[in-house]
């Protein structure tokens, strides 16, 4: 029964992946890439990793796909680079080599594979959390997550750096030069409130069931983008103090809690007993806000001179 489900899923994943790299219209290839993200999400569900599935669909398929779609629609990038056959052959050989190595490794890995999952399960009660993934992200490997939020901020700064800094107070260029549309307006008015609720739920539920700051933040970012595209709200001015504070909130609230750990608990990023859960939630609120803002701004792109 499971093979009946998994085999088509695997075949579809391969087919969509081939479509995404196989040349031709850039737009169609990006669409295939987004579909690939969705299929990968299903595969993660089948592998019993719903947290990864949610992130893959929201960020890998959705947000990344949106960025690629914009690039595909941009006339400056859509001119095809003539890459020779040799290039394709080299890339294919490299990819096959990595595939062969991976296949060999999967066969070589010890069975059952050693895992830290039992240790996580043993120590999870100390964190007041129910979702082991959140436990690993916010408690056991808090340093990695903290720095990942910084990575997101730095990536956004990298995107902004493509515009000269006097423009950094302005707004990003509009996503699509699309005429106002009744259908889009209707869609945004109905979906955005529901989506915001879902985004907040995903983050809130993340403490105990699959979900969390990254997934919730991605959904919130998507809702903001939908509202901007439908013309319900303008693209934000990037110089706005509140916007920049929102960007800094996640990494620096996390850092602040971490530093406080030296004084009220035993170590950096150690949460004091008794208020562990409220502190973790507070950090997650800040992270979710920063991720939502940063992802939306990454899609909106560098600030442009505001066209009169």
């Amino acid at each position: 029964m499971s093979l009946l489900l998994d085999a088509p899923l695997a075949l579809v994943a391969i087919a969509v992946a081939i479509r995404a790299v196989a040349g031709g219209d850039a737009f169609a290839r990006v669409a295939a890439f987004m579909a690939y993200g969705l299929v990968l999400g299903f595969i993660w569900v089948r592998l019993a990793a719903p947290d990864v599935a949610l992130t893959e669909i929201a960020v890998g398929g959705g947000i990344t796909g949106l960025v690629l779609l914009q690039a595909a629609g941009d006339a400056r990038f859509s001119r095809e680079r003539g890459v020779g056959l040799l290039y394709h052959v080299c890339a294919a050989i490299l990819a096959l080599g990595v595939f062969a190595a991976l296949a060999a490794v999967v066969l070589l890995l010890p069975e059952p594979a050693p895992s830290l999952a039992p240790q996580v399960a043993t120590n999870l009660p100390a964190t007041d959390l129910g979702n082991p993934v959140t436990g690993v992200l916010i408690v056991f490997r808090a340093l990695d997550t903290l720095l990942e939020t910084v990575v997101l901020l730095v990536a956004l700064i990298g995107v902004w750096s493509l515009s000269p800094d006097p423009l950094w107070r302005g707004r990003p260029a509009p996503l699509w030069p699309a005429p106002p549309s009744g259908a889009l307006d209707f869609l945004a008015r109905v979906v955005v409130p529901v989506g915001v609720l879902v985004g907040i739920y995903l983050f809130w539920a993340g403490a105990d069931v699959p979900g969390g700051a990254f997934q919730g933040g991605a959904v919130l970012a998507a809702m903001a983008l939908l509202a901007i595209m439908a013309g319900l709200m303008p693209a934000p001015a990037l110089g706005g103090r509140r916007l920049r504070l929102a960007l800094l909130a996640g990494p620096f609230a996390f850092l602040g809690v971490g530093i406080a750990g030296w004084f009220v608990a035993d170590a950096f990023l150690d949460y004091p007993d008794g208020i562990t859960k409220p502190l973790i939630i507070a950090v997650e609120v800040a992270i979710t806000a920063s991720i939502a803002v940063a992802l939306a701004l990454l899609v909106l792109g560098p600030p442009a001179g505001r066209k009169a």
């Binding site: 549309s181 009744g182 259908a183 889009l184 209707f186 869609l187 109905v190 979906v191 529901v194």
Partner: protein, 108 residues
Amino acid sequence: MTLALNIFTLLVVAAGLLFFIVGTVGLLRLPDALARLHALTKADNIGLGLVVLGLLPQAVALWGVLAAAKMVGIWLLLQVSSGAVSQLMAEVAYRAAQRKDSEGGAAP
């Protein structure tokens, strides 16, 4: 009782799948973009509605009313988004077709 509900599920889900098949055939065989969208959205909405309807008794039996309500919610959201999105796609396709027509008229 369970048997009756199971038979209900089987029949209604099968009917829903039939709509999906018809919609997919329409997507593949119909001549232009507007007609394809037409076939696809109608079939999808009814098809998914039937699948959800068929699964409702199972959801109630297994996980309670809340799970069933969530499924209805999913169906409603999909109604809205697929309707709106196909409208958007149709607008684009319609405009592209018009542009082609006017260019074709101007050429000779």
